[in-house]
Each structure stands twice: as structure tokens, then as C-alpha cells.
């Protein structure tokens, strides 16, 4: 009894007091901290050999894919080959058939050819008729335009005459105004004392100005 008390007061650690508390230690030996009167169990870590190994998931996926491909090839490769061979044979046969068959022997094809010829002829006739109709229309439009242009020419001639008259009147009025202005400028120079030669030159200038205004 005294020994039991001694053990309880001196050697009991919290972990021993609570043996179910998980430890951060990675040891798998559940009896590692079991203390039987200060003695640890003699067998070391008996579960060390059973520690789970880390597996590479990528390797696992690759191996599974490779296996699947092998199975796929064995199950699908054969039908594809057969299918390709069948198609190739079919095309070859169709080509041989098309080369050796005379299309003229088939009534249906002849009918199609006739229909195409008829369509071509009717389209040609239709185009010719449309062209004639367009020619007539263009001729009528041309005549109408010619008449309109002649009418416009007459109008333009009348407007031109009116403008010419207006411009002529404007020119005469401008000339008279200009002459009056020149007269005012030269007003002081003309007198009985002015030499005859100078007076003659002035008169000739006046005549030239009047002739320019009239023209």
C-alpha cells in the first residue's frame, strides 16, 4: 500500500493520468507510455512495420488509363479496320460502275438533259425579249430627255437674254455714275485758262470713257 501511494505521488504524469489523450508523437505503440512501476514495456514499436506507405496518385491514374487503352484497342480496332475496308471497297465499286455505265441509256437522265435544254432556251428567249423591251424603253426615255433638254435650252436662252439686258443696263448705269465721278474729280481743272491741247485731251478721255461704258 505504501508503494502504491509512492507511485501515485511521485511518478504519475498527466499523460499517465490520462492514458486516452492523443499525443502529437507519431509513435504507434499504445503501450509506449504505459508505466508499470517505472518500467516501460520492453518491446519497442511493434506497429512500425505496418505504417501506411504514401502512394503516388498520378502513377495510379496513368496505369489505369493504359489498361483501358489496351482493352479499347482490343475491342474497337478490329471493327474500324473492317469499316474502312468496306467504305473503300464501296467507293471503288461505285467509281467502276460510273465509268462503265453509258448515261445516254438511262431515260431519266435524258429527260433531265431535255429539261435543262428547254430551260436554257426559254431563258435565252426571255433575255432577248427583255433586251428588246429595254431598248424600246431606252429609246422612249431618250426622246423624252431630248425634248426636255430642248425645252431647257429655250429657257436658258430666254434667261440669258434677260440677264444680258440686265447686265447691259447695269453697265450703262455704272458707266454714267463713273463718268459723273470722274467729272467731279476733274472739275477744277477745266477753265478758259486751260490750254486747248489739254482741253482736247480731256474731251478725248471723256469720249473714250463713254465708249467704254457703252461697250
Amino acid at each position: 500500500m505504501a508503494k502504491i501511494i509512492k507511485i501515485g505521488s511521485q511518478n504519475l504524469t498527466p499523460k499517465i493520468a490520462n492514458p486516452f489523450k492523443t499525443s502529437r508523437n507519431s509513435s504507434t505503440n499504445p503501450f509506449k507510455y504505459s508505466n508499470f512501476e517505472g518500467n516501460t514495456l520492453q518491446f519497442a514499436d511493434v506497429f512500425e512495420g505496418f505504417e501506411p506507405k504514401k502512394t503516388n496518385k498520378l502513377k495510379m491514374i496513368a496505369s489505369s488509363v493504359a489498361g483501358s487503352m489496351t482493352k479499347l484497342r482490343s475491342s474497337i480496332a478490329e471493327p474500324i479496320v473492317n469499316f474502312v475496308n468496306r467504305v473503300r471497297g464501296g467507293i471503288s465499286n461505285a467509281w467502276d460502275f460510273a465509268k462503265n455505265v453509258n448515261l445516254a441509256d438511262y431515260k431519266g437522265l435524258k429527260t433531265i438533259s431535255n429539261v435543262m435544254d428547254m430551260a436554257k432556251n426559254s431563258m435565252s428567249k426571255g433575255l432577248n425579249g427583255t433586251a428588246e423591251f429595254l431598248n424600246q424603253d431606252v429609246s422612249v426615255i431618250g426622246k423624252g430627255l431630248s425634248g426636255t433638254v430642248a425645252f431647257l435650252n429655250k429657257d436658258v436662252a430666254v434667261i440669258g437674254k434677260e440677264m444680258s439686258n440686265d447686265i447691259s443696263g447695269f453697265g450703262k448705269e455704272l458707266s454714267s455714275k463713273w463718268n459723273a465721278l470722274i467729272s467731279k474729280i476733274n472739275h477744277k481743272k477745266i477753265s478758259a485758262d486751260t490750254p486747248v491741247a489739254e482741253l482736247e485731251q480731256m474731251w478725248r478721255n471723256e469720249i473714250a470713257l463713254e465708249a467704254g461704258g457703252a461697250a
Binding site: 459723273a180 491741247a197 482741253l199 480731256m202 474731251w203 469720249i207 463713254e210
Partner: protein, 118 residues
């Protein structure tokens, strides 16, 4: 008529030399404007010298012989208005007696008649 031309004609009328008469005859009596011809003819009459009166009496189409009645009548009125009519009567007589054109003679005779009546 251009006011400037009027003043030029007046200035030439004031001159006494024959050169002014030449200018008036050449530019005035040959003008296409009736007013200029009329004013020039009256100016030549007002000069009252032989050479100026001769221009408006003996020349066909000028002065009293102008195709415009207004010009001719205006020239005749100016002649009738002259204070000294001695020179103009002398020229009229010479024209009536010696001029080759009958129309000019007839016009001179008419003017002389008017002078006699005035």
C-alpha cells in the same frame, strides 16, 4: 450730256485761236450725241469769227445742215441772236452764190431770209 464735256466746250469757246475751232469741229460737230453737236454748234456761232461760222454754215451735216432738226434749229436761233451779224451774212451770201450742194445753198438762203425778217 456729260457736265465735263459742257465745261470743256465752254472753255474752248473762250479761246480765240483757230486750234480751239479745230477741236470743236473735230470732236463736237462729229459727235454721235445730238446734245453735244447742238451745244458745239452754238459755241461755234457765239465765237462769231469767219472760221467758226464757216463750220456751221457750209458743211453738210453740221450746224444749220445737221440731220437733226433740233440741232439745225438751235444753230439758226443762235445765229439770229448774234449782235454782230456782218460776218455771218457774208458767209451766207458766199454759200448761196458759190456752194456746190443745193441743199446747203437752200438752207443758207432760208437762214438769210430769217435774218432779214428778224
Amino acid at each position: 450730256m456729260n457736265k465735263n464735256v459742257l465745261e470743256i466746250i465752254d472753255a474752248l469757246t473762250a479761246h480765240q485761236d483757230n486750234e480751239s475751232i479745230r477741236v470743236l469741229e473735230e470732236l463736237g460737230t462729229n459727235s454721235p450725241d445730238n446734245e453735244v453737236r447742238e451745244y458745239t454748234s452754238r459755241a461755234l456761232v457765239r465765237k462769231n469769227v469767219h472760221d467758226s461760222l464757216k463750220v456751221v454754215i457750209i458743211n453738210q451735216g453740221k450746224g444749220i445742215n445737221d440731220l437733226s432738226p433740233a440741232v439745225a434749229m438751235s444753230t439758226i436761233n443762235e445765229i439770229l441772236a448774234l449782235k454782230d451779224k456782218g460776218e455771218v451774212i457774208k458767209i451766207l451770201d458766199d454759200t448761196i452764190n458759190m456752194h456746190s450742194d443745193e441743199t446747203v445753198k437752200e438752207n443758207a438762203r432760208s437762214v438769210k431770209s430769217l435774218l432779214a425778217l428778224s
